[in-house]
């Protein structure tokens, strides 16, 4: 299933659905107060059971990322993007930086080399702006 293959066996599909929608909000593909697909549209498009899709959407409503308008559908909450960015920033160090440092230690790369690389990149970023 090509569209089905979007999801892997690593975790429950409903959590992967929630994650996908969060990513779309973060990247700006889904804007605040924009309507999201219905669970049935989502289920048909990704070839998954509608109950699974609904569970993913409920997760997002519980988290306040989406809100429901009776009889109309589900929409992106006005502060969703900012809240997601805040959450992801907190996870960034634990999930990206710490594993990178652990890998560097395994490979015997001195911490100084890593810091130097980051500073080089930071310099390029400054040049670009």
């Amino acid at each position: 299933m090509s569209r089905g293959a979007v999801f892997d066996d690593r975790s429950p599909i409903y959590l992967q659905i929630a994650e996908k929608i969060k990513n779309d909000i973060l990247s700006g593909a889904l804007r605040e107060d924009e309507q999201v697909m219905s669970t049935n549209q989502y289920a048909a498009f990704y070839r998954i059971n509608p109950a699974t899709a609904a569970k993913g959407f409920h997760e997002l409503i519980d988290e306040g990322i989406l809100y429901k308008r009776r009889g109309v559908g589900m929409f992106v909450a006005p502060d969703a993007r900012e809240r997601l960015r805040h959450d992801r920033r907190q996870r960034f160090f634990a999930e990206v930086v710490d594993p990178m440092l652990a890998e560097a230690r395994v490979l015997g790369i001195p911490l100084g080399d890593v810091v130097r690389r980051i500073e080089e990149r930071a310099g390029q970023e400054v040049d670009r702006t």
């Binding site: 690593r10 599909i13 289920a43 048909a44 059971n49 509608p50 699974t52």
Partner: protein, 289 residues
Amino acid sequence: MRIEVRDLSVRFGRNVAVDGPSFTLDGDKVYGLLGRNGAGKTTLLSVLAAFRRANAGTVRVDGEDPFEHPTLTRDICFVRDRVDAEDTDRVRRVLQRARDLRPYWDDAYAAKLTELFHLATDRKISALSRGMKSALAITVGLATRAPLTLFDEPFLGLDAPSRRVFYDELLADYLAHPRTVVLSTHLIDEIAPLFEEVIIIDRGRLMLHEETDALRSRGATVTGPAEAVDRFVGDMVVLSERRLGPTKSVTVMGSLGPEWRLAAQGLDLEIGPVGLQDLFVHLTREERP
């Protein structure tokens, strides 16, 4: 339709095909019935479909025994990989008969399906390939729109593109007309995302009945230095283990959450997922360690 199975037993001579399972399906969902060849899937479905009577135990469909129940059986459709028809019957005749018998039959939908499957309605049954026989059975099964539809490995003869058509149509038509669907298969990975719940039977017994998504996180593999793996796994239920030199990989039953993952990182152990198909293979193996 709500299905209640209690201590069901079906014997063929000395051979016990269905050996006492009890379970309840609330209905209006798509259920996957998984089991190896000879596990008793077909026999179980035939009892639900009122095609045969159990030796012991009970089956209730919406509270009633379906066997020889004139109104209830009209609402139950049993689909295999071929239709029950004479070799000399034409496809058109098979569809007409279904229309005469079935209260929820949708002619336009049947026509759409025959087109999607490239099924020639003027062909005789004897002239159909195995795949076309499957396609006809599936067309009848879907267009019947029975409140309880039982598919018994209906797509064995279908090639991959036609299976895709079947999955898409099953999902779309279920969304438009919610009903109870039980589908048996051992091609799990392909169709598992469509199942809301999964029932696994093994040697006639109920092994597991669970939400598919919950099952997805039920197993894990732990890989790393043998001694560390053994200590980490402790008294978890081990489904299988493999060794390569000093490295050991163990498949365990149980969801290993973030705290386990963190602990594993510190021990140089890797935790991986177990797909539904793998989990099924491990659970239904002849012998376990």
